[in-house]
Assembly symmetry: none
Homo-oligomer: 119 residues x 4
DNA sequence: GTGGTCTAGACCACA
DNA sequence: GTGGTCTAGACCACA
């Protein structure tokens, strides 16, 4: 994974997003053990507390779970992963649409544009 | 207009984008005189050269034109304004689609999602 | 190349013209690396920013392209080079004709004169 | 007439050219009295000696003649005026052709271009 | 007042 | 080393 952060959003939130995507896309698969908090902190050059906070959020959303002394693992609940995927997708769609609204593109025009684009 | 810049993109390019949107959305209308280079520089707290550069790009794209000693004005060529609007829209659509691809949403799924969202 | 400038036209525009001709005539050939911005600035005794500006224009017209950290290179798009050659030629023809008009030579008379001249 | 000079050519030569054109185009007609040396010098903001020198050249070429105490007059020799017109035209044609040669346009291609231009 | 050009010089990313 | 961006500030033409 690449870890670049911008300054407009707290790093832990950006981390949450990136880890969610890593799980959704299967970079971390169901049942996989995540690297330890310390290792992640090292790799990303970020304070371990920040990692903890991000992972806490993921655990709240049941995307990962903790086995004491063994580490943190990606959930086996594939349905939940799909649910989160849809949430993120929907959120991005909403942001995109409101973005396009600023340019005064109506939803139908946007859909039209999308259909015209190859790929 | 609000002028906040992030550090990932040159200021003059961000300015170009914002001014384009201001013209497309009619914040600055056809025939309107823009604030003088110096005034814009003051308002945005940026060097006049940076303004010049951004406005130069807009002029290259025929979105504005200069009357020497009088100032810079928004083009009367509405067709060109529409053309630029479409360019920007298309670019945003493309970015959005490739963004969604990272989340493994295919185009049709994205369009489906968009249709389901109100407005 | 020789670099002499007159005062009636901005240096960067004169530079653009000279570099275009250098590319059109093959002084700089397709794929050639141009001297670095700093070297050109030294050679021509002009500020690097002025060079940048001129080269920026050439890049806008796709006569050169930049490889970051490596330098600027002449385009491989021979067709575009020919297009620019024709543009410049046409422009010079137009200027010449209107020049001759001041002397009250009609176009046909000018063409007649040209045919009479050897070479 | 407008009098702007550039620095690459002696002013008196530029004056000669402009006065020739003024005569050829009929701005000063056959038999017209030219303004006095002093008046010309004033109008053009140039040293009277420079005017003298330019007019001397015109007199050598029999484009003007001097009536002692009355002033300088445009020649009545229309044939000579035509001859000079042709000289200047031919010179401009030659300059133009050699200019185009630098861009590697052959004479026939130039003539072709000229025929394609409207006007 | 308006915009246009240019310089000197700093600092950045990238390799 | 390469190019890219930006600032501060000067000077110009034009009206």
């Amino acid at each position: 994974m690449d870890f670049e952060f911008d300054d407009n959003k707290p790093i832990y939130k950006q981390l949450v997003d990136k880890l969610k995507i890593a799980i959704i896309t299967g970079y971390y698969k169901s049942g996989d053990r995540l690297p330890s908090v310390r290792d992640l902190a090292m790799e990303i050059s970020v304070n371990p507390n920040t990692i903890q906070r991000a992972l806490g959020e993921l655990e709240n959303e049941h995307l990962i779970y903790t086995k004491r002394t063994l580490g943190k693992f990606v959930t086996d609940d594939l349905e939940n992963i799909q649910k989160v995927r849809l949430e993120i997708g929907t959120m991005k769609v909403d942001n995109f649409i409101s973005d396009m609204h600023l340019l005064e593109f109506e939803r139908d025009e946007v859909i039209q544009l999308m259909k015209e684009r190859k790929q």
